[in-house]
Structure formats: structure tokens, C-alpha cells
Symmetry: C2
Subunit: 430 residues, 2 copies
């Protein structure tokens, strides 16, 4: 049965994603109405630059006064695709105060202020949905929040940034160095002019914070996420990875500790075996593994960014929030009841691949092995290569804490026979 009064939607931001949202809302209006049970009408689009040409976007809906738009009082749903902290946060809060549900694609804001925003939404009895904030079109927020709501998630392991995956994939397939691969990504539009947010892992860290919070029913803020970028990954690292039957990916890893009493979230480059499904995720695609007690291992794969995929996620949320409006209900809100603490990186347990440049003389391996043993880091394999008085040692450890590994490396650097710790990389996905 179709309600006749249309639901009114305000759009904040009309860049690549906003334009696509507008296009689909216009061309698929009948489908959306059928799926929601009520017609849905775009009543205003707030932009900074009203004179910019936006094909297919009705000029009469454009306004520069975003605050006035969300304050109209008759808006049912606000779609926020501006990005960044302010003015997005104030506009969303104002929207809640005026009774509107919100659909947001804003990972930075959700990672920083998710708890406060959820509380505000709940206070005003409205929805806050943000599937588009994590991995574009790939359904992750909804599966974690709803499909796995009766299960116990132990780990989320994924490639959640397309730019860095494109760069690493290029380095892997062509043998290119980081700068060369970054240039290609920039030329093809996969990297922004200032790629910092991507290559330094800020974007992935925001997504990791959001995913960890939902997966473990606790609060994980951006500051809780250990973050290492991928600008130091070299062609030599890829060569080492290949020798181990691995490749290198920038991974977001959210884990419940073995004792179940804490969680951790981190973003860093890591070696993963070529046999792992994440190893074959090419170009700018994203993929996320979820491990749960009952479900086992699930993987979700797809385009992690781009106007149309992100718009798909926004519109899925729009339909959900509109359906809730029609039913005069709200969807599941924040679930943070476990209040599990977030461990510091030092307590995180994983494996390591360490390349050392050492003096090529007898007894070096014994010295190095002693240092590992003294710090309680157990060695899995050692590979020794030498020529012309120089030698390299490649050590792969068993699982150890990050703190123990750091202390080991510090002690190794002090050995006269160790000329350089050429690289340290974690090994995941085994």
C-alpha cells in the first residue's frame, strides 16, 4: 500500500557521489517509491559553489545555505556527502534536532564522533545510517550490524582503501617502486593530488575504527587505531614477499584478543600468502574477510570507492531510513554494550618478516638468534645469503607481541655485526 505524501529528502554536497545520488533518485523515482512504500522527493541540494555545472542536477534545488535547508522542519531524511568534520557534524546534529534521519558517507566524522552522533540520533528518535562510509558499495555495516547480530565476530581483515591497493598491485605486477606506482595512480585518477589520507593510512584507519566498533559492539575511535602508511614499502620488500610465497597489501585488521577481554584495530602494510583470497584483490578493488564463531569465514568483495558504487550504498540506506519513517520506527542504533577496551599496539600478537644486512662472518646467526630468544620471540625460519663480505639474514618469527618485536629490533640495531635492519613487515592471513 502506497502512502501518497512524499518523503522529503535534502542532499548536502553535490560532488561525484551527490550528483550520482541525484541522478538515481530522479531516474529511478518510481522504483524507489515502490520499494519504500511512499514517493520520495529531493527538495534541496546544498553546495558551496552554486555556479558549477552539474549535469542532470535540477538548478532550482541548489542552495548555498545548508543550515537553512536542514532547519526547514519538513525534511524526513538528510543525505550528507560533504565529508570532513565541519560543517558536516553541525549539519547532521541540526538535522536530528529537526526530526530528520541521516544517511552519511562520512568515514572521518563517524570514526571520530560516531558515539556522540549515535546518541544524538537516539535522543531525537531518528536514524543514522552510513553503509557508504566503509568500502563503497560493499555491504559491510549492515551485514555486521544485522546479519551477524546473533554471532560472535572475532576478526575483520580487509583491504579497505582502493588507492593504496592500486599502488601496491602495480608495484607487485610491474616491479615498480612506490613513487612510480603513485604517479601512475595519480595519472589514472586513482590517487588524489595530495594522496596523504590514502597512502599514510588515515582513510583505512577511519574505516577500521568504524568496523571494529560495530563488529565487537564497543567503541573504537580513530585515535585507538594503530596506523602505519605504505610509503616505505619498496620493490625489495615485494621481492622478499615473493620468496615467501606472499604479496604485500595495506590491511585493516580488527581483532578480539584470544581471552576475549580486549580488542585491537590497526592499519599497516603486511605480507599475506598468495593463496589467501585477499592476495588476488586487484587494482582499486576492496575486499573484507570476517571471521565469526558460527558463520566461519566470510568474504565481501567489490568496488570500494567511486561515485556510482558509493551512491548505491547511500541509496540502500536511504530506502531503509525512509521505510523506517513510513513505519514510524527506527533501525538498530549503536551497540556498544561490551565496552571492551582497545589494546595498544604493543600487546597485539602477530608474525614478522625481518630483513637484516649483516657482516658475513661466522657466529652472526648465533648472535642474532640469541637476541630473538632473549626477547621471547621464537624464530620460524631463517634464510641467509652472502657475498663479498656482506650478507643478509631474513628471519620470519612465530607469533609474538609487537612490544617484544620492537625490543628485539632495538637490540639487533645495537649489534656491531648488524649493519642495518633493512625492513620489518608483519605477516598476516595465515
Amino acid at each position: 500500500m502506497m502512502r501518497t505524501r512524499p518523503l522529503k529528502v535534502a542532499l548536502l554536497g553535490c560532488g561525484v557521489v551527490g550528483s550520482e545520488v541525484t541522478r538515481i533518485m530522479t531516474t529511478h523515482a518510481d522504483d524507489l517509491a515502490q520499494r519504500i512504500g511512499a514517493p520520495v522527493e529531493l527538495v534541496g541540494i546544498a553546495v558551496r559553489r552554486p555556479d558549477r555545472v552539474r549535469e542532470g542536477v535540477p538548478q532550482e534545488l541548489i542552495t548555498t545555505d545548508a543550515t537553512a535547508l536542514v532547519k526547514r522542519g519538513d525534511i524526513d531524511v538528510v543525505i550528507e556527502v560533504i565529508g570532513g568534520i565541519e560543517p558536516a557534524r553541525s549539519l547532521i546534529t541540526t538535522a536530528f534536532e529537526h526530526g530528520a534521519g541521516v544517511v552519511s558517507a562520512n568515514k572521518a566524522l563517524l570514526a571520530q564522533d560516531g558515539a556522540a552522533l549515535h546518541a544524538a540520533a537516539e535522543r531525537h528518535g531518528v536514524d543514522l545510517y552510513y553503509e557508504a562510509a566503509v568500502a563503497g558499495a560493499i555491504p559491510l555495516v549492515r551485514p555486521l550490524r544485522e546479519s551477524l547480530a546473533g554471532d560472535r565476530v572475532n576478526r575483520v581483515l580487509g583491504i579497505v582503501n582502493g588507492t593504496t591497493n592500486f599502488i601496491l598491485d602495480k608495484m607487485d605486477s610491474s616491479g615498480a617502486g612506490y613513487s612510480e606506482a603513485l604517479d601512475e595512480a595519480t595519472a589514472l585518477g586513482y590517487a588524489e593530488a595530495d594522496p596523504t589520507a590514502d597512502v599514510e593510512g588515515f582513510d583505512a584507519a577511519a574505516k577500521a575504527a568504524i568496523l571494529a566498533g560495530i563488529a565487537f559492539h564497543t567503541r573504537v575511535r580513530l585515535d585507538d587505531v594503530h596506523r602505519e602508511g605504505m610509503t616505505e614499502v619498496t620493490a625489495a620488500d615485494f621481492a622478499s614477499a615473493k620468496q615467501m610465497g606472499c604479496t604485500i597489501k595495506l590491511l585493516a585488521i580488527c581483532e578480539r584478543a584470544a581471552d576475549g577481554k580486549s580488542v585491537s584495530a590497526r592499519v599497516h602494510p603486511a605480507m599475506i600468502p598468495l593463496t589467501h583470497p585477499l592476495a588476488s584483490v586487484r587494482e582499486a578493488y576492496n575486499a573484507v574477510f570476517i571471521e565469526a564463531d558460527a558463520a566461519g569465514q566470510l568474504m565481501f568483495y567489490g568496488p570500494g570507492a567511486g561515485g556510482a558504487p558509493t551512491a548505491s550504498a547511500v541509496l540502500g540506506d536511504l530506502v531503509a531510513v525512509c521505510r523506517n519513517k513510513v513505519a514510524e520506527a527506527t533501525g538498530p542504533g549503536e551497540s556498544a554494550y561490551t565496552r571492551l577496551p582497545v589494546s595498544a599496539m604493543g600487546e597485539v600478537v602477530t608474525r614478522y618478516h625481518i630483513s637484516l644486512d649483516v657482516a658475513d662472518k661466522p657466529g652472526v646467526l648465533a648472535q642474532v638468534a640469541t637476541v630473538f630468544a632473549e626477547h621471547g620471540v621464537s624464530i620460524d625460519t631463517v634464510r641467509q645469503q652472502g657475498k663479498d663480505g656482506e650478507a643478509s639474514l631474513v628471519v620470519v618469527t612465530h607469533r609474538a607481541t609487537d612490544a617484544a618485536l620492537s625490543a628485539t629490533v632495538e637490540a639487533l640495531r645495537k649489534l656491531d655485526t648488524v649493519r642495518d635492519v633493512a625492513s620489518i613487515m608483519r605477516v598476516e592471513g595465515e
Copy 2:
């Protein structure tokens, strides 16, 4: 805020899945209560054989009178994991009449009577959820029904039966024949004593019907699904597939026609390129590709069957239905507004790989090519191999309708120079 009156749940069936549901509901009661916003209590378990030992299942909850259980009048949610058409259908209908929402894992029933059951649920203002009916723990129903609710799905292509994937994977990796691989699957518990439902494609066809209906917002019944089993696939077919850089999978394929005016659903073995992500789905795993206008290509991968994974999906739905009960709302019901007709198999367009045993003499290829041309089936490649007066021709076609291909094959069989049409297999995923 926690409601104190518990939600009452009745469980119908306590086999592998039911026992696991009971175990999780008991051990994770606190988590479920927090996630639902109300405690949830299992108040009765209907079974056929009450004397069977079921570890961890409270004996005092066991009853043989399923009808009396669903008629109690105080049940909030009924979980149906009996399977089959009756008595499951009557029990679900009775549950609706008494105000209970239903969570079902029953693919056969949903594929046959989904429309009537949805209508009954809507009439009584209760929920019908069935994520567990398709591909075990892998979220598919919810992503299609909710995450992609603002998008236009064009194709669903997947491996949705673990038993047949295990058998085909064995044949591929070991060169074994069908019988040998089936025996191994049976010995390892991947195939049932009577494997008909799996190997003849009935199970996959039921899932295809459910997925097609949800994906295209129309009604697709089991009878609408073209179904071919995989018992005729031979080691020779795998050898041919390898020569083409392909492997063979039993696929469920749901497509919107190019003109958008009809849909189709089919289950049959097909060659797919080794580079396609579905080609690397091993053992009893399931994986489903979804192609949508805005989202692009998404893939969902995981364990498609088994007690714990299926229980995970059941419990996710249980949490959703319970949340809706607490909110005094219902989730999205059936969406079949497009009323798109389902095409007969003859109208479906795809590519074919055909092996012919032919006389090894000049002019045969020309004869064969003429037959293809007369039926409007365009040839992509031909490979000719001959020895000792016998020869084989392997023809791979461009896209053509199934009807045109069938007519071509019929005409080929009438040629004196064609001794046998050794195999016909569709080629997908390109």
C-alpha cells in the same frame, strides 16, 4: 534501554541446525538480550523423535506437538528448521495467525510458496525472514533486499550448492570421474546418502528462485527455474575446459534481459574462465556475484551449509525479528511490484562449447559451419583434432539463444559426418 519481559521463541526442528541454534541461544543469551533490547527465551522445541540424545538441548523444552507449540498464543518468534513443504508450511501459517514472526531456513518451501507466505505474514502484521535459506551464513537475502534496495540488480551468478562444488572441485583437481568424486563426497559427509536434491540441481534451483525474486522485485517460482544437474559432467569435459583456460562449476544464474522486460533463472553446469573469482571457490564453499547498475560487481563468499553457519544466519534473522517486535514494527516484506515475466530457457542468451566426434575427411568443417550459420549461431573459435580416420571438432560460439543452439545441435546430429555430439556446455562469466 532494556525491556524486561522476555521475547518468547519456539523452535521447530532440532537437527544439526536446531541444536546449534539452541546452543547459541543458551550460551549467548546475554549478548542477544543486549543486541535486541530485550531478553529472549526459548520456550519450546518441537521434534519428531523426543528420545534422541541432543547434547546441550534442555530436555524439558522438547515436545512432539509442534502445532500446540505454535498455537500457544504467547510466542513472539517461531524458528522453522524442519525443512520440506509439510508440515512446515502449515506450522508457519499457524504461527502467523497467532501473531508470531517467523525465521525459516526452508529454501524448498520459500521457492514454492514464498508469495503466499509473504502475503500471510503481511496480513497478520508479522515478519518472515529467511537469510538461512540461501547459502548458509553468507548474507545475501539482506544485502539484496536492503543494501541494494536503491540500486538496479542485473545479474546474480553464483555457486550456491556446496555438495556439487565439492564434487566438481575434486574432479577438477584429481581428474576423477563423477562417481568416484561423489563417493568421496559421501564418505566425507559432504553428500547425503541420496544426493539427488544436490546433484540434480533441485537445491540450487530453489535458491535461484528465491534470489531472482528478491533481486528483480518480481515473483520467480521453482517451476520457473531451468534446471540441469551435473551428473553428466565427465573428466573429458574438464579436459576440454582446461584447454580453454576454464573450469566447470554448477552455477545458479539469474538475469534481467537486455531490454529489461523479462528475467530468467537457471541452474546448470557451465565453463567459467580460471581468471573469474568463482573459479577459485574450492571444496564445499559457496560464492555469489551480484552485478548492479551503480554498485558494479560485488562478491559474497563463505560456507554455504553446515549447522553452525546456518545457525548464524538464523540468529541474525532472529535478532532482526525480535528488534522489530520490540519496536512494534515489521521489516521489509515481499517486493514483487515489477511483475516481470520469467523467460523460458529457449530465450536465454549465452555462449556454448560443443564437442563433436566427426569423420576425418575434407569438407566436414564446412558442413558443420554451415549448420551453425543456418541457425544464426555465430562461431567464435573452432579447434580440429584428427587421427586414424576419427576427428573431433570443438566449437565455441558467440552469444546465441538457447533455442537457436538446440536447433543447431539437432541439425548437427542429422549430418552423416557427425558421429556424436559428445558434449554441450554453456560458457559463463566472461
